[in-house]
Structures are given as C-alpha cells and as structure tokens.
Symmetry: C2
Subunit: 204 residues, 2 copies
Amino acid sequence: MSDADGKVTSKDTREVIMEATFRALSKHGYTDLRMRDIGEEMDLTRQVIHYHFDGKYDLMSSFLEYIIDQYEGGVEVPAGADPRTELDARIDQCLFGPEFGEFTHWDRMKVYHELYTQAQNDGQHRETFNEHYGRIRGSIVDVVEEGIERGAFRDVDAERVGQLITDVIHAARGRRISLGHEDAPREARRAVDEFILDSLYVDD
Amino acid sequence: MSDADGKVTSKDTREVIMEATFRALSKHGYTDLRMRDIGEEMDLTRQVIHYHFDGKYDLMSSFLEYIIDQYEGGVEVPAGADPRTELDARIDQCLFGPEFGEFTHWDRMKVYHELYTQAQNDGQHRETFNEHYGRIRGSIVDVVEEGIERGAFRDVDAERVGQLITDVIHAARGRRISLGHEDAPREARRAVDEFILDSLYVDD
C-alpha cells in the first residue's frame, strides 16, 4: 500500500477505494449504495474518494471497468493449446471463474450482472459492456475460426456459435445469481457440450 | 372501468394502477421510482394506491405477478399443432413476444429483466420468478418430451434441452435490452435452429 517513502501512491489509493466499493456493494447492493457506505469500508478518510472521483456515478463507472479488467485478465489459457482445449478453458473460466483472492468470481459477477441490467438506462455503461462483451465473444469466435482453419471443427458460422456460447454462459450465471440455481453453470456446461460442441467437432 | 352502477370496481382499479405503474416505470426506471410518479400517471387520486397496496414493495410484487401473467397468457399455440410447430411457436413468442395493446413486449421485458436482476436481493421476487421460470421451461420440456414420444425428436435429455433453449431466449432478450443489440432475438433464433433444433429432429 505504500511506496519506498511510506507514502500511499495514487494507484494504491484507487485500488483501496475499488476494494472498499466491492465490500460496500456486496453488503448494500447498487441501488441502495451511498458514498458513505464505501467510506466505512476503508481505513483512508472518505475525502480521498471525493478527491479521486466526481460523485457516485463516476466511481461506479471506474468500478465497472475495474471488475471487467479483472474478469478478462483472469481468463488464462495454456500456451500452445489446441482449439478444443482452448475453447474448453475459455468456457470454463467464464462459467466457473478464476479465483480472485478476497472476493470470489460470484461476488464479482453479482455486481457485474446488476450493472449490466442497469446499462439499459445508461449510455456510458452500455458502451463499456458492449466493448467488453465484444472482446469475450471475440475470443471465442477466434478459437472457433482457428479450429475451422485447422480442420478440427466443421465449417460453421463462427460469429453465430461464439455468440450462442456467450449467451448461454451469461444466462446460466444470471440464473445462479438471480434465481439461486447453484447448479446452473455446471448444467449449462453439459448442455453446451452435448448440443453445441459435439456438433462442432470433426470426428477423428 | 365502471360497472353497471357507474362505480369503479376493485378489479378495474387494480388494472388502472398496474398500467399507471407501467408508464411510470418506463419513464423513471425501477430504482428511481416513487409512489408519486405512479400517481401522476393516473386519473384516480393517489390515495387509491395506498388503499390497495401496502407501500412500494407490495405494489412492485403485485406488478411483477401482473406482467408475468400477461407474458405467460400471451403465449398461444395453435390447437393440435405437431411438436415441431409448437416448439417453434413457443420459442418465437418468448423471443419476439405477443403484442399487448398500449405497451409492447419490449416495454414489459425491460421491467421484467430489471426485476429479475434485483431478485438476487429479494426472496419473494426470487420465488415468483422461479415459479414463472419453471412454467416457461416446463412448457418447452413438455413439447420436447412429446416430440420424443412421437418419434419426431431424437431421445435427448428434455430437461437439459428445455433449459438450454430458455437460457438462450433470456440472454438474447437481455442483450437487446441492456446492450441495444436489436438483432439479438433474430440471431438467437437462427442459432437455436442451427445448433439445437436441427440436431433434435429425426430426419424424415
């Protein structure tokens, strides 16, 4: 948290605020969140938040980018993996999540899905989600295209199958969060295997 | 709106309040909605709302049941349809919606998806959605089972395929609403055809 001179750097401070925002959101939800709730989750004074952010909306926009960065950065694929292995790894990490220290994949996804739905009334958040969604879908489309080129997958519309898989992942996570269907990601994984991937593979 | 004696009946009044709630929600969103916003959308006095409902939460719970009833009641299938035709009709109506007079399918779905995400913090709404979701999924599972019995579909796990289709529908609607992907329902329909239904049909 401190540099060599013992001063808290700006980067550290933002990190502290982001993690405090996380804790406050987990307790209060987005709708009821007040700036003071975030202040109560930090050791720093609340004025620091107002120094770095121009109100709740500005803070929430930064927070959305923060969790999206972590989400995308958390998806790791073994180097040199073949298309089947890479596709499996990407689907699993979007569905079941990498772990993130203090907070789990599901703590993050709760906030993520809440902000996603709010984006219907919010042009800036909608743009952030659209860019992020494009990258997640694009990473699946890329590996499907590579599989087709290598002859491992049959010649399908890669954009369409990438979108379908991304949609199933999103809906299963949403059901786990909103409806409490704990088994939704695991069941979705089985359905993707049985109805989408099996039809994609070219038999050896 | 009035019975034979010119009095407004209780059923009419609730309907008036529900439609006023709809207009107010469309303007203000769920988070920012105040009881007075609903009052401003009605010709009746605002006191009528307080007579029928015990606060905003009680009103929202009734409203959720109201839009779910309309949604489920709006899905109509031609009598005596074969399983393929019935499955197509059910998927289309969930994706593209029946029309509902003053408000469109998408006006309703905006509110529906917002309340769905809020259900993560709300046991009563979660139960309402779970029952509804069970009925929607169940209606798809039933027709898949019937198709299997009649030899029109191959012998798949009907629960799994019903859930998968329901998830794809939900995600595509959510993308249209949250991310502005106007073509999402139509693209989802094509993906369901190509990757799920085609593999389901037993070739003639």
